[in-house]
């Protein structure tokens, strides 16, 4: 086995936490059950990795096999990447042929390899007609860098693809082009949506987040479905503003629904607006240039936090539509300008 490939194997297997080692290797499927049983998984990690690399060498594992292992690792650790969302479109009225996955892969590979002599492309099929693509970029004169790959998750029955953010941004237009042409689309556009939580991005973009679980509980009184802050059943505590509390609960439920919110870490608003003032005159009022300002909301779970604001008494209900429109519009980056 080539030295660089062996090194790549070693570093990829080293990344895997010991607790997940068996699961990921099984999911990878390159080493059989029997072969895995010949390895001592109780030894120190470095020795275990050495044994596994030897095993791969014996089985003549290729660079592509290592790349597939990298994909499997990333699938288990998708939260370690930040994902962007792209949407493709076709010309109106164009015939949509049946999607052929193999043709897509061939075409995608061809386009990238024609443009860049050195590039490693690997595919792994996933459920829901999706394919995970791993691309290691090289150039005319340099071999591909296996340690800074880009991942693309393309749902073939939809116009959407998710890509892991990469610092090597110069190749993104080429990637977009390859994706568009191979999937028989005409245009590709980056959405203003980004998050670590790939599954949440999926839920937002495919509008799968608003499935109500309870379809038969319409007789349950509102109080019992309150959000986390239950109206206390202790009769020694009296809520003076019970009516207002109930209104806030109702408005919040209407805006956010009964279902768990998709997970995002932030929302960012870029404002570019001219100064407006009721007072006449003043230095700022005469300023022609708009004022620029950036507001960022961060949270481990932004939408649940926004949902909890009004019931917790931190904000008035209803919340600003700029905050509540995030899942509907599929955006968490906003640019606000004067009309």
């Amino acid at each position: 086995m080539d030295e660089t490939v062996a090194e790549f194997f070693k570093r990829t297997i080293l990344k895997i936490p010991m607790t997940e080692m068996m699961t990921i290797l099984k999911a990878w499927g390159f080493l059989s059950e029997n072969q895995l049983q010949t390895v001592n998984f109780r030894q120190r990690k470095e020795s275990l990795v050495q044994d596994l690399v030897l095993l791969c060498e014996k089985k003549r594992a290729s660079l592509n096999d290592a790349a597939i292992l990298d994909i499997v690792y990333t699938q288990f650790h998708r939260h370690q990447k930040v994902w962007d969302v792209f949407r493709m479109s076709r010309e109106p009225g164009e015939d949509i042929d049946l999607f052929d996955m193999e043709q897509f892969k061939r075409s995608f590979k061809k386009i990238l390899q024609r443009a860049l002599k050195n590039v490693t492309i690997s595919f792994r099929d996933a459920e829901e007609n999706a394919v995970w693509i791993r691309i290691a970029w090289g150039s005319q004169y340099r071999k591909p860098n296996q340690y800074r790959p880009v991942y693309v998750v393309y749902y073939s029955q939809t116009p959407y693809a998710f890509t892991s953010s990469s610092q090597l941004r110069s190749n993104i237009p080429l990637l977009g082009q390859a994706l568009t042409i191979a999937s028989k689309h005409h245009q590709i556009m980056k959405m203003d949506l980004r998050s670590r939580y790939l599954d949440s991005l999926k839920a937002i973009v495919f509008k799968q987040y608003n499935q109500t679980f309870e379809t038969h509980n319409s007789t349950t009184p509102l109080q019992e479905r309150s959000l986390g802050l239950d109206i206390n059943m202790d009769s020694r505590i009296i809520h003076e503003n019970r009516i207002e509390k109930e209104r806030v609960q109702r408005v919040t439920q209407e805006t956010f629904g009964y279902y768990p919110q998709p997970r995002l870490e932030f929302a960012q608003y870029k404002l570019e607006t001219k100064f407006k003032s009721d007072l006449n005159g003043g230095i700022l009022a005469e300023r022609e240039e708009p004022l620029r300002c950036l507001i960022k909301f961060s949270s481990p779970h932004l939408l649940e936090a926004l949902k909890a604001l009004a019931p917790a008494g931190i904000a008035d209900a209803p919340l600003s539509p700029l905050l509540t429109c995030i899942p509907n519009k599929g955006m968490n980056y906003f640019k606000i300008r004067d009309k």
Partner: protein, 169 residues
Amino acid sequence: MSVLRPLDKLPGLNTATILLVGTEDALLQQLADAMLKEDCASELKVHLAKSLPLPSNVTRPRIDLIMFVVNLHSKYSLRNVEESLHHVDATFFLGRVGFLATGAGRESHCSVHRNTVVKLAHTYRSPLLFCDLEVEGFRATMAQRLISAELTSVPVFLYIVCGTPPQHG
């Protein structure tokens, strides 16, 4: 009634009523729970309100103590308390009102300066207590203080009061 007056009702036999006023319902709720967990000889009732004035269509017992809760992380909670204070009769401030400021522990989150609440409490001649209500241990201690203040027959805060209360219309 739009203005709370301390002595327009007779005190209940062996009961005490505390009113907590503040925007952050979750914190008030937790403080109320902590207070009710304390062992009380007499019966304690806790009323929670976002702001004053209270809804007028309800009969409620005489209120023995009002605690205004300000979250130092929120200018909104301060403004809410400032506006609610206008609906309290001046005589309440003779020992039946206190201010509670929460959130001082996380300095970087504070948007209300400590001095602002200190001045507010001074203006209304009422005591100010600092307590991070989000921390269970501190909350339990504060609950104990409020209970013991509540249950003594003479309003405990009276000794801190000095000077004349502000003039109210």
